[in-house]
Symmetry: D3
Subunit: 133 residues, 6 copies
């Protein structure tokens, strides 16, 4: 389950719930990185069309962030994980809210994207711990 | 642009084409890993419902593989990359075909998924090289 | 916000989070009713094509159930709701799992659909309470 | 087929065309309510970002309205219904146009949303009558 | 608005409803041709996997047929067209039903696809007449 | 495989890769025509809402153009075609780029749409030649 990617070693986290399943917080993170980039690029520009397109794509990417996190929470995490990590529910709820109207969807403040990325990393830490056990 | 993920260091490759853009061959790879898992799981089972669901999800995930690779080829790679890597067109074409009817969509042979993963890794190597330059 | 529908009075629950938003557990329930109907219809039939189509549509409708419930949990419910209803996280998590691989996606057992409907109704009860306050 | 929802009794209208099917004009109505809310909220605001996001989401929700109404017209209603309700074709055509470019998609006039809601209610009345028969 | 395509002259019918719009019954026809091909190919084969994939893709393509026809009916055709062609409503309704559960979605009978194609051609005739006027 | 459409004879190009498949460059062309119309209509107007909606729909239609061209390149064209038409890879790559950020997505210049249409016609010429053989 190791593959060289970009010269680095990437541990593609995997769990089989059926059918499949390959879970990986990287999916949410890649979209959230994209959201941050869009915010920065739009803030650095004064082209109204770039802003309009940025708003549109930020909306879609933020929705993907929400979706990928929801999938982890529902499909990957199980009751024992929630018992061991009682903060996990609120963490996931806050992360998905940070990709919504009160977060990156409704704001051009890059700190919203940073907060979102930090929450995704917290979820990824817990995810990583559950893979060790 | 470094983030700890699963206890490992993940270099989220990024490139800004605008609006955005965060490109990462990991997106195609995660879906292709999923396709391989589905094939293995279905081959190890004799439940017809699992096979029916696996066929359906394999179709969707394979389509995602194609989409993510197409996006890299059109949105990330530029003429100088094609000049430096003249095999890149056929590599991408073969990779997307391997996720189609003559590949993982139309087969339960795990070697198709392995071939697909190997092609994605070849694309990822070239991708990584272009990031260094 | 009252509208006659089917001869009955339907209170379309609404909440504005921005932009919009009209939240209503009925969306999840309609899809879950559909899932139950599909299961019953397929179980009462011996047509393999109906079963194949039923499996496919059951997969899609179950996914919609998950999506509608996730939206309620992330976009509608707020921290005070979670404090007042500490069981809400697990309730939502169990409901979405019941529309997944271990629930209506992976089974032809009508009791899975009934369990899913019961969970949706529990969420709807809490939802209704929050509208009163 | 009765379920308590939000403290009220909701008659989830159902009809099985197969596979499934649960038809309910509430689906179109919920989206149309959302469209109306968006229009009101944007009209009451002077935030250009809220307007831009509202325009985007209004487009999507209006499309959902069209889709749900089309499904009723094609999948639920049958020739005898059209004979009994000769106005039904134009009613459906006008309702879907009201969710399009000449209706809620192309306008910030709340009366367009009200007209759309009124048409949906007319369709729902006919729908309810057909369930009695 | 003429373009050589496949060695023949293709008159891409166009009408601007705004924003845009380019309407063309060819979109529905291409998908319906695909549905017919799938049916023929599956009927000529005894590979259960081809049948399973064919069923899945037939479902999606049939849905696209419905969507393209609905768009013509709601977005392109206007009241004067309906007055001049009083059969148009039922024609469209029948065409979309022929791409549904009682048509190509629910059957492997190639005559269903032929009936669907014939209805699309009837709609295309009316469409062509309205372009002349 | 001939059908009268709009008073003209349309040769619906078809190829069966399985399952199905009906390939036709007309699909990409219709969407690209739509993109051109949107650009013209928005340029001729000073309504900011029409521009905002045009930007949104131009984004979606451009994405469809990309998708339809990618499908031709991966699913229809085979190695012998690439040998006979060595320019095909770059032609397809340029066409899809012309429907992207550096093309019709990121611009209101109608010449971008004209360039895109010309590239699609070049692809259609090659497509037509391969059907003769």
């Amino acid at each position: 389950m190791f593959s060289r990617l970009g010269g680095h070693v990437l541990d593609v986290s995997a769990h089989c719930d059926l059918p499949c399943g390959v879970y990986d917080p990287a999916q949410a993170r890649i979209e959230a990185e994209s959201v941050k980039m869009i915010i920065q690029k739009v803030n650095d520009s004064d082209d109204p069309d770039m802003k309009a397109r940025g708003l549109l794509i930020k909306e879609q990417r933020s929705e993907l962030v929400k979706h990928h996190i929801w999938v982890l929470w529902t499909d990957y995490f199980k009751p024992p994980h929630f018992e061991q990590h009682p903060q996990l529910h609120m963490l996931v709820n806050e992360a998905t809210k940070l990709a919504g109207a009160t977060g990156t969807k409704g704001s051009w403040d890059v700190s919203k994207a940073d907060d979102l990325l930090a929450k995704i990393d917290e979820i990824a830490e817990i995810f990583a711990e559950t893979k060790k056990g």
